[in-house]
């Protein structure tokens, strides 16, 4: 009886999963006349290779610092170390990710793949902001609409509406809202500030692009999590609220002692679901910014798709997928461990 189901799950879930892991150890390309070769962990090294290099500032013959026009110390060119330098074989092919100065010496953090590092960083920032903000906002909405009021279903429907609309459509619409010239947001801000606000190209500016996508993403899925919170709220027995009312609990105390403990399992679920979804950030990026401007909205999944299909480097894309899997798995396990029921 379970045969067809097992077959389909195997075909569409288990086989691709194993395939991805397998491909990540080869140099397979999507369309290539050459047979794939086993390359070991080369792909992983290419993506995750990170090293540091500490350089002393350049000094002239007298030992004084050589300064540029702005008066800052200058350092030897990194190229000298990362391009076929036999003394530094480990740094070959790396590029500067970022650097910091301790005393006079400057430490350069180098990465084999700076774009991928940026993608990981952006994704982590996205998750760290979206998970608490979206979860918290959804809980707030759920508490608001968990009342017996006339027309409360209308509010439930309104908050849930963005969830029903495809994320691609939502992203397209928000591109108009964020438009740099006559976007809704710019017009609104200009109106509220009596015209003193200077229009910003929200998606075209390095500093605001990721923030804009974060705000839109929170708005889009908050209704979904609101519904999950709501179902959690409705499993709490009304007599517990009555008991706490008789005991004299204030609104906040009722939330703290009755509602929140009753939502424990829901909270764990929501946290894990939001985290997973946030790590999978792709559609918004693909529609709104395509990773730009200046890689400020690169994400892990977007990189996986770009490499696997855009650049036909399916083994590179697979490797990114496997890395993402490892990240999400370990975060889920940590979350479960942190939120376990203490006995």
């Amino acid at each position: 009886m379970a045969g067809p189901a097992i077959f389909l799950i195997a075909l569409f879930v288990i086989v691709p999963f194993i395939f991805a892991i397998g491909l990540s150890f080869t140099n397979q390309r999507l369309v290539s006349p050459n047979p794939a070769q086993f390359v070991g962990v080369d792909n992983y090294q290419q993506l995750l290779g990170v090293a540091t290099l500490t350089l002393d500032p350049v000094r002239d013959a007298a030992g004084a610092l050589v300064r540029d026009e702005a008066g800052a110390a200058t350092y030897p060119a990194l190229r000298g170390y990362t391009r076929k330098n036999p003394d530094y074989p480990g740094l070959d092919g790396m590029r500067e990710w970022f650097s910091f100065t301790l005393g006079e010496a400057r430490t350069f953090v180098l990465a084999k793949d700076v774009v991928f590092m940026t993608a990981i960083l952006n994704t982590v920032v996205f998750v760290l902001i979206v998970a608490p903000a979206q979860g918290g906002l959804a809980l707030l909405l759920a508490l608001l609409i968990n009342q017996k009021l006339r027309g409360i279903n209308l509010f439930r429907a309104i908050y849930f509406m963005p969830v029903v609309v495809s994320i691609v459509v939502v992203s397209l619409l928000w591109r108009f809202i964020y438009d740099g010239n006559s976007g809704l947001l710019n017009n609104l801000l200009a109106f509220l500030s009596f015209g003193t606000f200077r229009p910003v190209d929200w998606l075209g500016t390095k500093e605001t692009a990721l923030g804009a996508i974060i705000v839109m993403s929170i708005w889009q899925a908050v209704g979904f999590h609101m519904v999950i919170w709501l179902s959690g709220l409705q499993t709490i027995s009304p007599t517990l609220y009555e008991a706490s009312a008789i005991e004299g609990a204030s609104k906040w105390q009722t939330f703290r002692y009755v509602t929140w403990p009753g939502l424990r399992n829901t909270a764990v679920l929501i946290l894990i679901v939001i985290t997973m979804q946030a790590f999978g950030l792709f559609s918004q990026i693909d529609v709104m910014t395509r990773g730009g401007p200046l890689d400020s909205t690169q994400t892990i999944v977007f990189q996986a798709v770009q490499r696997g299909y855009g650049k036909q480097d399916i083994s590179g894309g697979s490797t990114i997928s496997v890395i993402l899997f490892a990240i999400v798995l370990s975060i889920s396990l940590i979350q479960r461990w942190l939120t376990r029921e203490k006995r």
Partner: protein, 360 residues
């Protein structure tokens, strides 16, 4: 400690009246039981006293203070729910201390009170457990403990024993009676179980369809039910109710007749009853005996032997079935014809409207 007075208390949900004007006076330290069939409004009434339901009309006062619009926490009440309503994520100790934690009582004082409540309820050994590790009876004990530490003027119990199994219910019932003796607090108790009502109450309030049917001590209700509803509701097995015709009245007696009964003169004041009225004769199964008295002959249909008594179901001449609870182990069998009798002074007589006549 406080008395509770309900005066013309009403509750309606939109156009539907659930409580239709209830007047009850509850003395300080009294154990009052509200009893009635499901949906009679007894729980609603209790929840109105607790402050969990608004009052649509009339006044409610606790300790001489009108509390219609006072929030539950300021009514000096504590409530024990049928579903226990103890917090699943807290230990027993935290549950019992909940109200004190809310009131930000100093830790030492709080612990002393919890220890005292635990001692009264004999659950010191349970204090560090969680509700999931407790049996139903223990959970209800925790809920009662939470009520005790509040030192309320009035305890409210909403069918507290209904979720327990039969044996435990009897134990807890006795413990509640003991608790009332120890604390001497006013207690209001809602149940649909008349045994609980009879055993616990100083005063029983019988409710039906949002109207008080009778208020009285358990034995008053048993021996002198005010109307047919109370007569049928209190007592197990149920009172036998026989249709009879009035054949004669004097100032202190009513003579009734029916094919089953023949003619019997009963010592009741006739009131408005006149010759020819169709009235109802009530005879409790336990009032019937195989000795002398007014006879009700019939054929035995069913025999239940309980050892201390024998319950026989009889079919009378008219085809009506009655129950007789005969003392001891009686050698009767299905098909036997017996004629148990009752003392006319022990019977009850209800007029055409179902209201009891007073005994002469």
């Amino acid at each position: 400690m406080a008395n509770v007075a309900l005066t013309g208390l009403k509750k309606s949900y939109g156009p539907v009246d659930v409580i239709k004007g209830v007047d009850i006076a509850i003395e300080d330290g009294e154990f009052v039981v509200f009893v009635g069939p499901s949906g009679c409004g007894k729980s609603t009434l209790l929840r109105m006293i607790a402050g969990l339901e608004d009052i649509s009309g009339g006044t409610l006062s606790i300790g001489g203070r009108v509390v219609n619009d006072v929030p539950p926490k300021d009514r000096r009440i504590a409530m024990v729910f049928q579903s226990y309503a103890i917090f699943p994520h807290m230990t027993v100790r935290e549950n019992v201390a909940f109200g004190l934690t809310i009131a930000k009582m100093p830790k030492k004082e709080k612990e002393a009170k919890v220890a005292e409540a635990a001692r009264i309820l004999q659950m010191e050994h349970l204090l560090d457990r969680r509700p999931s590790q407790l049996s139903g009876g223990q959970r209800q004990r925790v809920a009662i403990g939470r009520a005790i530490v509040r030192e309320p003027a009035v305890f409210l119990f909403d069918e507290p024993l209904s979720n327990l199994d039969a044996a435990l219910r009897v134990d807890m019932r006795m413990e509640l009676a003991k608790l009332h003796q120890d604390l001497k607090a006013t207690m209001i108790y809602v149940t649909h179980d008349q045994v609980e009502a009879m055993t616990l109450a100083d005063k029983i309030v019988v409710l039906n369809a949002g109207v008080v049917q009778q208020v009285g001590t358990p034995l008053e209700l048993y021996h002198s039910p005010a109307n047919l509803f109370v007569a049928g509701f209190i007592g197990s097995p149920k009172m036998n109710l026989l249709p009879v015709t009035v054949e004669g009245v004097t100032s202190s007696s009513v003579t009734v007749g029916s094919p089953d009964l023949g003619v019997a003169m009963l010592p009741f004041r006739p009131g408005a009853v006149v010759v020819g009225d169709q009235v109802t004769l009530g005879v409790r199964p336990h009032m019937l005996g195989l000795g002398a008295g007014t006879r009700l002959p019939g054929a035995v249909q069913l025999v239940e032997r309980l050892g201390n008594e024998t319950i026989a179901m009889l079919r009378l001449k008219s085809g009506q079935e009655i129950t007789a609870a005969l003392g001891g182990d009686q050698p009767i069998r299905v098909g036997d014809r017996i004629d148990p009798g009752f003392a006319p002074t022990a019977a009850a007589l209800f007029d055409t409207a179902g209201i009891a006549l007073t005994r002469a």
